[in-house]
Subunit: 251 residues, 2 copies
Amino acid sequence: MDELFTVLGDIKTLFNQSLSELSVDCVVFGFHDNQLKILLLKTKGSSEWSLPGGWIYKTEDVEQAAYRILQERTGLDSIYLQQFHAFGANNRYNGKEIMSRVGIPPEYNFLPERAVSIGYYALVEYSLVEPKADDPFTEECRWWDLEEIPELLFDHNQIAHTALKTLRRQFDYQPIGFNLLPEKFTLIELQKLHETIRGRSMDRGNFQKKMLSYGFLERLEERKTGGAHKAPYLYRFDEEKYAAYLRLNDD
Amino acid sequence: MDELFTVLGDIKTLFNQSLSELSVDCVVFGFHDNQLKILLLKTKGSSEWSLPGGWIYKTEDVEQAAYRILQERTGLDSIYLQQFHAFGANNRYNGKEIMSRVGIPPEYNFLPERAVSIGYYALVEYSLVEPKADDPFTEECRWWDLEEIPELLFDHNQIAHTALKTLRRQFDYQPIGFNLLPEKFTLIELQKLHETIRGRSMDRGNFQKKMLSYGFLERLEERKTGGAHKAPYLYRFDEEKYAAYLRLNDD
């Protein structure tokens, strides 16, 4: 209980510097070996796992808050976060109820009865990042298989589900997956990435036709060797052409 | 000034029942005769046009607030609103500054120094709806040509621009435009709608192939007559097949 009160004091200090009706939650998907994982953490004093989240300082942009919170609570830095949805159900969060459930007397209970949370998501090659929290609140932080996510705090299961839907949809119109592949890759490797995200297999001919139609894949005069089949061509992702494609399609 | 103080009193009453750090803004696009318009309003006492927006009651979901605010401020009802982005720059809104700019003494100045706004957008056939505010704050409310939007309040130009980008992108993966066409339509009419939204012309063959590939367009044994060219087939939008398509692609 002593440790809990120390954590509570820290949370209160942070909360007093923050907006009181708004929070940020981050859904970080990890991709590795044709599998999708998700980064979850356990806050000290809590028995439930949750998404990395926190309050927004009164002086910072919401987007800055998202990057700071992710860094502080998981150690992940330089990760491209994308806002995807604000979760605003009236009953999604009740800080007072949670504090009273863990036995905090009302006079110590400073959390609000309601908060809207703005969700951000990211997709990273998870073998390249090592979660490691440096805030006083995180007890444990680790990757979970998507299929094994436990019951999470508040509406965090719904937030994670919405993030996954958004990620899948984004792969339809914006091939954001290139930063997850080695510099040179085969079209089969690219397809496996897309199939993992989409959770379903795709027709090889249609997939390759669509990818090549974008115009930012460059076929190299090199083939990948070592497989059982005829060595497939290697491709490179042309960042300049990709930027031009985005300008054309995004504005 | 008397009228201004009356309006202020009403705003304060509303504000006291609301969340203080969050607002909602609605971007309503109107489509008619191959043109896109946007619905703007002028708040009493303000010299600038703005998007229809307002505060969220403490007791309502953010989404409920969006529908209520749009109805109260513009008279538009039963319109499908879609959340698209939360605008969270630290300096995007300063209520205190605005009130002092119009000459309100500090003791009457109750607005916050910062608010995050959650944006919703909609697309309607604008000849079917008649804007008519029934709140005490709206002075005027009317459609504007997209190309003629004036300088708007706060970051509302940016909010409108982001809504337009989102609308265009959504037409890529989810053909939300069907509710804007008559029950029976030709593929040319459908293409004109898409071209208007996307702001560019499209290849007829590719467009028709893509639309038909979705599987929810039903070709009728009827042709549209009266044109200068060979009478084109009429199509109908099959809602059941569309719902099945959404289920398959959305979850």
